[in-house]
Symmetry: C2
Subunit: 410 residues, 2 copies
């Protein structure tokens, strides 16, 4: 494997140097041709490839990392007979390959080479433990109450085979081959210790597709993520990350992920007029501004009425019901991927949102908001929750640690 390693390092060296010195980005107006692309400056656009996210830190990567253009979710169950010891060895292996891959290096001997040539491309791997993990590893006493099953919601049509799991890995990268390679590497490194339970693929907008960084759009065309808390806000950490001194020391700096495969009934949705769609959401489609005016970040004027005396943002509008001020300040960091798995058997698009939200406590984040949405969200007829997972992602690994070590060696 030494050939590959040398080649990879050489290429990454080039990328790194480019990233460090800054580059003139050649203007490419109008159409490019096959020939023109081959002649393009060798230095164009390399920050996409050269950006590396840190594996170590207070928190795991992939939570506050900017949304990447490709994502994979994969859940595993421990193999029959595998317990705490095997799980610890697995997390040690996974951490080792994650650290290498996130630095843009091969995973080790037997690296399949799919990510060769590319830089790390903002790759992140984020690891979480499901509720069932703790009994199977004899760590029941370490199980957070925050992993208690989510309440059932009336609109749930959950497929148990695509829900939950002992272990969960979230992978994101700004290159599809880098992300796929990480997925395969994680799966291979599972060895005999764990078996894949389910696996899902997602995507977001490409870096540079918009003229400036913008809030994401989902496959319904809606600006999605406007109200997200920002790391610069004073209470961000308190809302998103588990503090030290809580129920379990091993979760300090960690966060809980709620994962929902939300199918969008796009054929139905797209039959609504623009005006009707905007009333369902409570925001303008063009720019995400509230129907009560302003820009995307203007607060909703929930009491404003129109000339007809009716509320401008209807009673059951999605934005009203999910507004933090309507939910006791509930806050979660939504960090979704869209998904599109082709055509379903009934001819409709098997597409929607891999909703992922992060919070210090699901009972103060996802649950109260979803409970309200479940009662009266105008969006409900156009979506279907098809799978669900709740995972505890421990804090980031410190030097010399593997992810989850404070749990597995507690």
């Amino acid at each position: 494997m030494s050939d590959i390693e040398i080649s990879r390092r050489r290429l990454l060296g080039t990328v790194g140097a480019a990233g460090a010195t800054g580059l003139a980005l050649g203007a490419v107006g109008g159409a490019a041709t096959y020939a023109a692309a081959a002649d393009a400056p060798a230095t164009a656009l390399t920050t996409v490839g050269s950006t590396a996210e840190p594996f170590r830190g207070d928190h795991q990567a992939g939570i506050t990392t900017p949304l990447q253009s490709r994502g994979h979710l994969i859940a595993f169950d421990l193999a029959p007979g595998a317990g705490r010891k095997e799980a610890a060895a697995l997390l040690r292996r996974w951490s080792a390959v994650a650290e290498r891959l996130m630095a843009g290096e091969p995973a080790g001997d037997g690296d399949a080479g799919v990510a060769l040539d590319a830089g790390p491309s903002s790759l992140t791997l984020t690891f979480g433990f499901g509720r069932t993990f703790f009994d199977r590893t004899g760590l029941t006493a370490q199980r957070p109450t925050a992993l208690d099953p989510l309440p059932a919601f009336s609109s749930d049509q959950l497929d148990a085979r695509r829900s939950e799991g002992d272990l969960w890995v979230q992978i994101g990268a700004n290159d599809a081959l880098v992300a796929f390679h990480a997925l395969r590497t994680v799966q291979k490194a599972a060895g005999d210790a764990a078996q894949v339970r389910w696996q899902m693929n997602g995507f977001n907008r490409s870096p540079g597709a918009t003229a400036q960084p913008m809030t994401a759009r989902n496959l319904m065309g809606q600006v999605d993520g406007t109200g997200n808390p920002k790391p610069s806000e004073p209470d961000f950490d308190r809302r998103i990350f588990v503090p030290a001194g809580g129920q379990h020391a091993w979760m300090a700096g960690g966060s809980y992920a709620v994962v929902r495969r939300i199918r969008m009934l796009l054929d139905d949705w797209e039959q609504l007029s623009l005006k009707k769609q905007e009333q369902v959401i409570g925001r303008r489609k063009s720019d995400g501004a509230p129907l009560t005016g302003g820009t995307e970040t203007t607060e909703l004027d929930l009491n404003k009425t129109g000339a007809d005396g009716k509320l401008v943002i209807p009673d059951n509008a999605h934005a009203r019901i999910s507004a933090p001020e309507q939910n006791g300040g509930a806050a979660m960091l939504r960090r979704p991927y869209s998904f599109h798995d082709g055509m379903a058997a009934d001819g409709t698009p098997d597409a929607g949102l891999l909703f992922i939200c992060w919070q210090a406590d699901p009972l103060k984040g996802f649950v109260p908001v979803q409970r309200k949405l479940d009662r009266g969200d105008a969006l409900s007829p156009f979506i279907r929750h098809e799978a669900s997972g709740l995972f505890a992602a421990p804090g980031g690994p410190k030097d010399g640690e593997y992810v989850g070590q404070r749990l597995l060696e507690s």
Copy 2:
């Protein structure tokens, strides 16, 4: 829909201006954070979004266009009762939306808004006719013999429901939402005239993921596409595009696409050692150079033997068998997407290559090469052809024309 139109134009105006003046690409070394992304210069990386491919020309877009990072393939059958008139109206509608979308504009009234904010992102839509189209439209006399069914190959395990079709659309873009939006728009514009027969999704490396433009890698990790003919070569047009004065005037400037869903048996492949993989392919994995030495573009030394007296590039190596010089100069332009549709029922990855190749005559391009591969390719045990299509893509529309007009109004 006027709000959306205005907003879209405003945003694209910004992108266009940036593309025209050239931009300093801010260096982003090391890790970016959520907060940093929001503070990033508004002008970074916009050529990804701002690049537009021409809808009109001698040839359709999407053939010599550089590989985009996202692709969708969709095949339709004409609806029962729909004939030449309905097909002509359909191609007129499709052409109208394709031209708008490729320019980065909304498709028209009822545009779902999914591509809002983004530039055209190198979007291409390429339209083709399958063999069955001609009988159904009373155009049997205009059916090219080049659309005669491909021969059966011993390694075929074709699923008829995911093969062929009256009409085929290839969509590519460097942004996933732009590509998805185009797919939905095409499907919606089909109206009552045609029904979806099959649909597949693919991807390639992101622009900027590598330090310089490089030949693609496939999901086996192999450099794939090295021997592709280049538009700058004198016989490129003759090999790839149908000349004027041929069997049917309407195909002048057109090209034939062979589409194969090639499943890769990655679990088996990845168990091979690097050395064994390289012998199967006949090229080095690290850089795609022939095992006989040199760089990626060095010609294979097919007669070279090693110290053991054996051929360095084995008799059944994929690169030897598919080498143009071994196939009477057969040439095709391979322009594939990788695919990954999650996990198959047997737990293996449902992943591989959406092989698409373009040629002036399939009997001189795909067929002779595949026939040889079928007899003795060392790669065969690791791949499975699961679906197949053969489509005639007419020449590019001239001003005022829609795609296929010269056929449908002949």
